[in-house]
């Protein structure tokens, strides 16, 4: 840990940012998004044309990916713990809400336990958080890469259990590799897609508020301390294990919530939707947006859905571009797109340029 590294890890807010309270900007963004379906300002993008179901559906996917990204951000960006079980937990949320809220007397592809949606959703998210917490317990002993492999395998294991269905336990009702129909929760007075949109937006809002509260309080600073000076936290009276577990739990909660929203939007889930590919998507969402940035995951999710839809006709190129994006992100933009303007401003040759231009235009009046 060098001294020079510290200021960039704990960036000072600019004076402009200080003038607008953080909560105010957050509320403004969400207010805007809530009214977006009735404003036709993104019609020119086609993909995010919020006046029709296609655009609204895409935006709802953006929100779902952003929710997972926010949780992932807390885990990777703040606690520095490389947990990759996110795709499995995403599947848990999708399947969990589907099975719990489905009618019990339906055919196999739709059978479930008759729970109300708003009971099923928190229950499954809390269950995911507990799983995250329990997994984190022994896993917190593992370092870096070992943890990545352990959690990656765990995520795959969750998906495999979902696929094995009644071979594991009769009451699982996940309908094996065939896939599960997801009963739709309908916000009263809205049509299906609009209801999914609002539901996903609400879930993102809650996640964001939780993120802002958590990271601005003691917890956020502690997590950063855990990330940066892990071993040294003991003497400071901080149990790094405890905080890592907490980060695990919260990110698992967010992943399950995101999975539930994704399933509401796609109305169907099968195990092959949650393979490594999904993990890569979520990594792109997180990394492109910028690790440990508040709006990073949302920006990353918008970027990802936009790119994916733009490459619809040439999907052979999609993974080439996503792959190169990840490589470039690591090589040249380790802090994500969100800080690109700052990075350009701060880079040495732009400063050179500014100085030279300054010299050129330096006539004193």
């Amino acid at each position: 840990m060098t001294d020079q590294a510290l200021p960039s890890l704990y960036p000072q807010k600019s004076s402009l940012r200080k003038a607008v309270p953080e909560w105010a900007s957050t509320f403004a963004v969400f207010l805007f998004l809530a009214f977006l379906p009735w404003m036709h300002i993104f019609g020119w993008t086609d993909i995010f044309d919020s006046s029709n179901n296609f655009g609204r559906g895409n935006l709802a996917f953006v929100f779902a990916f952003a929710i997972a990204g926010v949780g992932f951000n807390l885990l990777v960006g703040y606690s520095g713990t490389l947990g990759l079980a996110i795709a499995g937990l995403f599947a848990l949320g999708a399947y969990g809400t589907a099975v719990l809220s489905a009618p019990s007397d339906a055919r196999e592809a739709l059978a479930g336990y008759d729970w109300p949606f708003f009971v099923a959703l928190p229950v499954i998210c809390i269950a995911a958080a507990i799983i995250g917490f329990l997994v984190g317990f022994p896993a917190a002993r593992l370092k870096g890469f070992f943890l990545a492999i352990a959690t990656l395998a765990l995520g795959e294991l969750i998906v495999t259990i979902i696929r094995l269905d009644e071979k594991v336990w009769d009451g699982l009702k996940t309908n094996g590799g065939t896939g599960k129909q997801v009963p739709q929760f309908r916000v009263p007075g809205l049509d299906r897609i609009l209801s999914v949109y609002m539901l996903s937006l609400g879930a993102l809002f809650i996640t964001m508020v939780a993120y802002v509260v958590l990271t601005n309080r003691r917890l956020g600073r502690t997590l950063k301390a855990v990330r940066d000076i892990d071993i040294a936290t003991g003497p400071l009276g901080i149990s790094s294990t405890y905080y890592k577990l907490l980060a695990f739990g919260i990110s698992a909660f967010a992943a399950a919530l995101a999975g539930a929203m994704w399933a509401q939007n796609s109305s169907f889930a099968n195990p092959s939707a949650f393979r490594t590919r999904l993990l890569v998507f979520l990594l792109v969402v997180l990394i492109v947006g910028g690790v440990s940035r508040k709006w990073g995951p949302l920006i990353g999710a918008i970027f990802f859905v936009f790119l994916r839809q733009k490459l619809q006709d040439t999907q052979k190129l999609l993974f080439l571009i996503l792959g190169i994006t990840l490589i470039l992100a690591v090589l040249i933009l380790p802090n994500g797109i969100a800080v690109l303007p700052k990075q350009i401003r701060d880079s040495r040759w732009v400063k050179d340029l500014q100085r030279r231009l300054g010299n050129l235009t330096d006539f004193s009046l």
Binding site: M1, D46, L82, A148, I149, A153, E156, I287, L320, I324
Partner: protein, 365 residues
């Protein structure tokens, strides 16, 4: 008994591929501390190359003799691994980013002259309101010159060594590489599965009452041979240097060991081994895009069993997973088969993170 023997042989065959991928991962991990998620995909590129060179011209191959194709493909694999290290990994470990800057800017410049002149902007830029057809050559050239200059400057100034040794960016880098390579293969050779015939494909012999395929014998035999060769290598001059770097990079460098060259050799060897593994695997099954997907996780699990340090442990681990899967599938239920490897890794990491390696300790990284 016959069936049991056949199951064990089948298990050893697939286990041999897991082991080789695992060994490739361990070699690179030991020398450069990079968890290479793209290992199997890099090997798959070599396997496709071998198929392409030896394949029937009617099916899109070149039609050269099998052995020549294998030698060329493996040589290609080694060079490919070295290039990857030279361009992508070196800059992150504190060595010059000049090679990457030069190669990327020349490559991108060439591609942009060609593409802009012929096609105009790629279709996913169709929201960018300029001409649909290609640009005139002079416009394309100017744009390419700008691209070259910007790319060069961006890489020279922004690609910086990692501030601390961290597996996360490196893992991301290789995940990106993995998916980019998969897409390159799909674009070059299409997504249709291919039959990759080796001279021993389809030949069998009887051992008592059990029929054994020569492909099984060759796969297992080559696996053992490569493992022994690698063990011998680690006692050679470069092998010792490699281990020294792995044990204590800083001191090793002070002693005058050229870490860059050691790492270069490790990447060449690792990719060579992965190429051999993928050639063996695809010639006894089918050559297709997804061939690497299942192997990479199993390879990592084998490496976990070897604690990411022990070659013997990794090799035994891979074989054990292969045989375990085959026996669980054959003796208990085929639906249990996919869970074996996942359960093994979760249990091993939680109970004995050191795997089979004698130094049962987590690596401090």
């Amino acid at each position: 008994m016959d069936q049991l023997l056949q199951q064990i042989v089948a298990g050893l065959e697939s286990g041999s591929s897991y082991s080789l991928i695992g060994l490739a991962i361990v070699v690179i991990m030991k020398s450069t501390d990079v968890p290479n998620f793209a290992m199997a995909e890099m090997g798959l590129v070599a396997a496709f190359m071998a198929w392409f060179l030896s394949g029937d011209p009617a099916l899109g191959g070149v039609g050269w003799p099998f052995w020549l194709a294998i030698v060329l493909a493996l040589a290609f694999a080694a060079v490919f691994g070295a290039i990857t290290q030279f361009l992508l990994v070196r800059p992150l470990t504190g060595l010059s980013n000049q090679p990457l800057a030069v190669c990327a800017s020349i490559g991108l410049g060439y591609a942009s002259v060609f593409f802009l002149n012929k096609e105009g902007l790629p279709t996913f830029f169709d929201w960018f309101p300029v001409t649909d057809e290609g640009f005139p050559l002079w416009v394309a050239t100017i744009m390419a010159v700008v691209t070259v200059a910007l790319t060069y400057l961006m890489i020279r100034y922004w690609v910086k060594p990692l501030s601390k040794v961290d597996h996360f960016p490196l893992l991301l880098l290789t995940i990106g590489l993995n998916f980019a390579l998969g897409s390159v293969i799909e674009n070059l050779w299409g997504s249709t599965p291919k039959r990759f015939d080796a001279p021993w494909s389809g030949e069998t012999f009887d051992l008592g009452n059990t029929r054994i395929g020569w492909d099984q014998v060759v796969t297992i035999g080559v696996g053992i041979a490569i493992a022994i060769a690698m063990a011998l290598f680690f006692w050679s001059k470069w092998g010792v240097r490699m281990r020294a770097i792995a044990e204590d990079g800083h001191t090793a460098r002070l002693l005058g060991i050229n870490a860059g060259r050691v790492s270069l050799i490790a990447w060449a060897i690792g990719t060579f081994v992965a190429g051999a593994a993928m050639i063996l695997n695809t010639s006894s099954t089918v050559l297709e895009l997804g061939s690497a997907e299942g192997l990479i996780l199993k390879g990592f699990i084998a490496a976990v069993l070897g604690g990411f340090t022990s070659l013997g442990g990794t090799f035994a681990g891979g074989l054990l997973i292969g045989v375990g899967e085959a026996l669980a599938g054959g003796q208990i239920s085929t639906s249990l088969q996919p869970t074996i490897a996942l359960l093994v890794v979760v249990v091993v990491l939680l109970v004995a993170p050191g795997g089979f390696s004698r130094t049962a300790r987590t690596r401090e990284v």
